[in-house]
Symmetry: C2
Subunit: 131 residues, 2 copies
């Protein structure tokens, strides 16, 4: 089970990353830009929970985006909750990648068909919900 899931993640990740290559972005980074844009996170810890990502992993992934000037946070210093938001550059880059994202999504949808597409979606939701 875990083998199949990881294999699926590798396969689909490579396809999406190939599309994102021209923008020097990886799909994890786009997903975090999207999460920051959606807002609603009062801290990294809270965001980590919702992403099912280890907190320290998320910390470092966000730092990469900060160093590239795609996100920022008013709060400074360790020990205080961080609330991130997109910079103008981050917002612009996210806008640009949305059509690509949609295109990748549509391609898979066509390859699998509508029926399989929904079944796969709900299957992944179930697997991603375990703790």
């Amino acid at each position: 089970m875990v083998l199949k899931t990881r294999r699926a993640a590798r396969a689909v990740t490579r396809r999406y990353n190939q599309l994102l290559r021209p923008f020097d972005l990886q799909c994890t980074q786009v997903s975090l830009l999207y999460a920051v844009a959606a807002g609603g996170f009062d801290s990294i810890s809270e965001m980590a929970d919702q992403q099912a990502m280890e907190r320290s992993t998320l910390t470092r992934n966000l730092q990469l985006l900060r160093k590239r000037g795609l996100i920022c946070s008013e709060q400074e210093g360790q020990g205080r909750p961080q609330r991130f938001e997109l910079t103008p550059q981050g917002a612009h880059l996210l806008e640009v990648t949305i059509p690509l994202w949609q295109q990748a999504q549509d391609t898979l949808r066509q390859e699998w068909g509508e029926e399989d597409w929904s079944v796969i979606q709900s299957s992944l939701s179930i697997v991603g919900a375990i703790r």
Copy 2:
């Protein structure tokens, strides 16, 4: 889609790795031990294809197992195809982890129920098959 898949991989990986912790193994390593035990690979490249894993990733993952004395290869030197097989220690460790693996599998099967279990399995197979 890729987000859901990666999230699912993170979630299920953590659960399996928690069980494997006492043996200082990660689920990727167990999967490679299993693949080596099943045999049938004439080279790292061929094995990488079947695992949907990037060749250089597989190379390094196998090196870790080799350094721990769990697998070995008669062929020596770069440029020649590598055929790995389990060492006695590797075979023993694999044997020991099988019940744990089965237990994790059974737990998920119960949590999800037989019907969802099969649907999830086939969904993951479909996603893992894309190139």
